[in-house]
């Protein structure tokens, strides 16, 4: 079976699930929920499947939303994929105000080794945006920790809102394929090896994820980006 045939069969499966799993009802509910926070909120979009589904839902409620995207830098996110992500965001939310901030150490080898500066800078950037609501594509289905987090979480400086909290991974893929939402092509490479439920868009070659074995997989599937170059 070719890669195209494999993908087509899975798309057929997810489109069936869109009806069977009542994904449209869930999406409508998420849209109504998100609409309450969009005027005073900012939608954070990594470019992964969850945030892209969220972006589509949010823009269907309010096309001129504000979108925040964090550029991890070349060490953690190859430039081809980053460019693809930005194009995808612009195509799904053409009327949105897009704010992009880049990690200052993101082009260096250090970004792969030490993730502490990343956290400091990322959360400082979020705070500097000054929005009351941060709307994220977090789902309860992802982990026990996220399941215990809740749909609305009050943080020290903002409130986190999770409109697609009750989507499963199957719902998200069904929504993506039903609405032809663009996602990075690397998803399909990872899905073929790991399965659709485990295919995620996270930073590549990141030591933070070493304990989950992710850099090993990256070294095989993303070998082209293993070695940093100027």
């Amino acid at each position: 079976m070719t890669d195209e045939e494999w993908l087509r069969r899975w798309i057929d499966y997810f489109l069936t699930w869109y009806d069977e799993g009542r994904v449209e009802e869930k999406a409508n509910e998420a849209k109504e929920f998100a609409a309450k926070f969009l005027d005073e909120g900012i939608v954070s979009v990594s470019g992964g499947k969850d945030s892209m589904a969220l972006l589509h839902i949010a823009t269907s409620a309010k096309p001129d939303i504000t979108v925040f995207h964090w550029d991890h830098g070349a060490a953690l996110m190859p430039r081809e994929i980053e460019e693809e992500i930005l194009e995808n965001i612009k195509s799904v939310a053409p009327k949105a105000k897009l704010i992009v901030k880049k990690y200052s150490l993101g082009d260096s080898e250090r970004a792969r080794e030490d993730w502490r500066p990343w956290y400091r800078e990322f959360f400082a950037a979020l705070r500097s945006l000054g929005y009351r609501y941060h709307i994220l594509g977090i789902r309860a289905d992802e982990s026990c920790r996220r399941a215990s987090r809740g749909r609305i979480v009050a943080r020290k400086h903002w409130v986190e809102v999770h409109p697609i909290y009750f989507f499963t991974w199957r719902d998200v893929w069904a929504y993506i394929f039903k609405h032809r939402i663009p996602v990075p092509k690397t998803y399909f490479i990872y899905a073929k090896l790991l399965g659709w439920d485990k295919a995620r868009l996270v930073t590549f070659f990141d030591k933070e994820f070493e304990k989950y074995g992710s850099p090993t997989i990256d070294s095989i599937l993303m070998w082209r980006y293993r070695h940093l170059t100027k």
């Binding site: 090896l193 074995g213 070294s219 095989i220 293993r226 070695h227 170059t229």
Partner: protein
């Protein structure tokens, strides 16, 4: 030196840390183990000890005439084996952290290919190559948990030198500066030690169309 074909017959799937296994690094590993004996297992981190040892392979410019692995059957796909790596040490009394530090737990993934045979092409001294590959008990990563066990290995002379290029296809990473034409290029290590940054150059990846200068 003669053009050689080296075939490893495997009894268990081979786990990988990169898409390719390199024959020159395999021989360098065996030679270094021979030279250092037990000291091999207590080397000071990742510092090359006076360079790579001499291996019985032909050199072309600064790379060895030795191919990467060809896995057979050729349509064998990759799979993932997930496993936990937990400390085998007796835990001390009191509270310990298993999220970080010495007792940190790992949930690891090994990408493996259930190949039956692994074929290499190289040009070298047949007797010495045969002696060295006879010492290879297993190939690839995660050998300590049973991956890549070698059942037998055959070394034979072949007519053509296919360690660099075979039928217009690169059989190993070749720096683009040594090529007249190439269809693809990426930064990657092209000579042992393959983990060293000093070995990285813009290369034509294995199994892409190339023409040597």
């Amino acid at each position: 030196m003669q053009p050689l074909e080296i075939v490893f017959y495997l009894s268990t799937p081979v786990a990988l840390g990169a898409p390719w296994l390199f024959f020159d690094s395999l021989l360098a590993h065996i030679v270094l183990k021979e030279q250092l004996g037990e000291k091999y297992y207590s080397l000071p981190t990742k510092i090359p000890l006076g360079g790579v040892p001499e291996i019985p392979l032909k050199r072309w410019r600064d790379l060895y005439v030795a191919s990467v692995a060809i896995f057979e059957p050729s349509d064998t796909s990759m799979h993932v084996f997930s496993f936990f790596k937990r400390g085998d040490h007796p835990f001390p009394s009191g509270k310990i952290s298993r999220g970080s530090g010495f007792f940190k737990d790992f949930y690891l993934k090994a990408v493996y290919i259930p190949a039956l045979k692994v074929r290499f092409y190289a040009t070298g001294e047949i007797d010495e190559v045969r002696r060295l590959v006879g010492k290879v008990a297993a190939l690839g990563k995660e050998r300590n948990i049973g991956f890549g066990f070698v059942k037998k290995v055959e070394v034979k002379e072949v007519e053509h030198e296919w360690g660099l290029v075979k039928d217009g296809t690169a059989m190993r990473p070749i720096p683009v500066q040594y090529l007249k034409s190439y269809e693809d290029a990426a930064y990657m290590p092209y000579k042992p030690p393959y983990w060293s940054k000093k070995s990285i150059a813009l290369c034509a990846p294995p199994f892409t169309r190339v023409e040597l200068l």
